[in-house]
């Protein structure tokens, strides 16, 4: 169970969203999935991130999902909610409601804009959010966008926000899945704020540097593998020879190769549908689309080859 600390520790799963045939969120399957992940050792969940098709869910839908989870026994301290919207008002409203529901944190990313946003404008966005949510106990995390082309978090923005609102933001989540970008984030910001990544391979590398956190979409499928790889050495099992068991990141490299060139969310959801024997998990919201049959077949063949036990370490 997590503590009241603002730091994220362990594996936080960027949760895939099961959908009804009308593409509304399947709350009971989501709750069951999260319970199952919890038993498999994850630390918490990140809702409506890239894997959770966040951009296709409204504020109302996101908050409704959180209410369902907390009503069914999932602690708000184990939930971080993506609260990234293009308007300050909507972002602030979601953060306030998340705070009222006792959530551990909210992730705020640069807003989407029809025009090219300036660094000053981006800083103003995050400053306004900090101003209007002053005094809440839910922690705020800055996030880089997860696709190239959207406005990035630049040093000017982060420095401006951190200097004007020290303590308002509790960390930075690098969502680029780009090793050089992550290295830049660490170099530029780690003295001011903890830096997290949603790239599983980079999280394992950071684990070796003593940073034991991963925001992971792959943990939907292989929670035990991720937990073992991200845990500090004292928490891992040792062989008779004294070597850590299950700390080989080979399985992640295999999964990275399997997913290369495929749309990640439909691919992961396809594997979840196989894992749970449940075709409901195949559904994705537009503009995403289910994997084509040939891609499904190839992916399944590779997954069974490299994860014969279905994702155990």
């Amino acid at each position: 169970m997590t503590t009241g600390s603002s730091a994220l520790q362990g594996v936080w799963v960027d949760v895939l969203m099961p959908l009804h045939p009308d593409l509304t969120l399947h709350h009971s399957k989501l709750i069951t999935h999260i319970r199952t992940l919890a038993v498999k050792g994850i630390q918490g969940v990140v809702l409506f991130g890239p894997a959770g098709e966040g951009l296709s869910f409204s504020a109302t839908e996101r908050l409704q999902a959180v209410k369902q989870l907390t009503t069914h026994g999932v602690s708000g301290r184990d939930i971080v909610l993506h609260a990234g919207f293009s308007s300050v008002a909507e972002t602030v409203e979601v953060i306030r409601q998340a705070n009222a529901l006792g959530l551990k944190g909210c992730i705020v990313r640069p807003p989407r804009s029809e025009d090219e946003p300036t660094q000053e404008g981006l800083a103003q966005f995050f400053n306004q959010v900090a101003d209007l949510t002053r005094g809440i106990s839910t922690h705020l995390y800055l996030a880089s966008p997860y696709r190239a082309g959207a406005p990035d978090l630049k040093p000017y923005v982060v420095n401006e926000v951190v200097s004007k609102h020290p303590g308002a933001y509790a960390g930075i989540l690098d969502q680029t899945r780009n090793a050089s970008h992550m290295q830049d984030s660490l170099r530029l910001y780690s003295a001011q704020l903890p830096v997290y990544t949603n790239d599983e391979l980079q999280a394992v590398v950071l684990g070796k540097l003593g940073l034991h956190t991963s925001v992971s979409s792959w943990a939907n499928l292989i929670p035990s593998v991720m937990t073992t790889l991200v845990s500090p050495p004292s928490a891992t099992k040792l062989s008779v020879a004294g070597n850590a068991i299950g700390t080989d990141d080979g399985p992640l490299l295999h999964l990275a190769r399997m997913l290369m060139g495929l749309p990640e969310v439909p691919a992961l959801k396809y594997l979840m549908s196989i894992h749970y024997h449940d075709a409901d998990w195949l559904r994705v919201r537009p503009p995403l689309f289910e994997l084509l049959p040939q891609s499904q077949e190839n992916l399944l063949k590779d997954f069974k080859k490299h994860f014969p036990s279905g994702g155990k370490p």
Binding site: I31, I34, T36, G44, V45, G73, D78, H277
Partner: protein, 74 residues
């Protein structure tokens, strides 16, 4: 994560079973596969029935395929 009282749907010796948290803790590691975790027994049993039905359907489908593939003797 703390998630309260749970019911565990597992597969052991090729059979699905719903067990309580106490029973689950007494299971030997690597002797079973954890399928899913539910907050009540009814939902867990419902899912177990669905899984069994799915497995039966898959076997029936495979049998049908093999039967259809067999050359017809006159």
């Amino acid at each position: 994560m703390d998630i309260g009282t749970l019911w565990y749907l597992i597969e052991r010796d090729k059979l699905h079973r719903v067990v309580t948290a106490e029973e689950f803790e007494q299971l030997e590691p690597d002797t079973f596969t954890l399928h899913q975790v539910f907050d009540n027994r009814r939902e867990a049993l419902h899912e177990m029935i669905r899984l069994v039905q799915t497995a039966v359907d898959e076997v029936s489908h495979q049998v049908d395929e093999k039967t259809n593939a067999r050359p017809h003797s006159k």
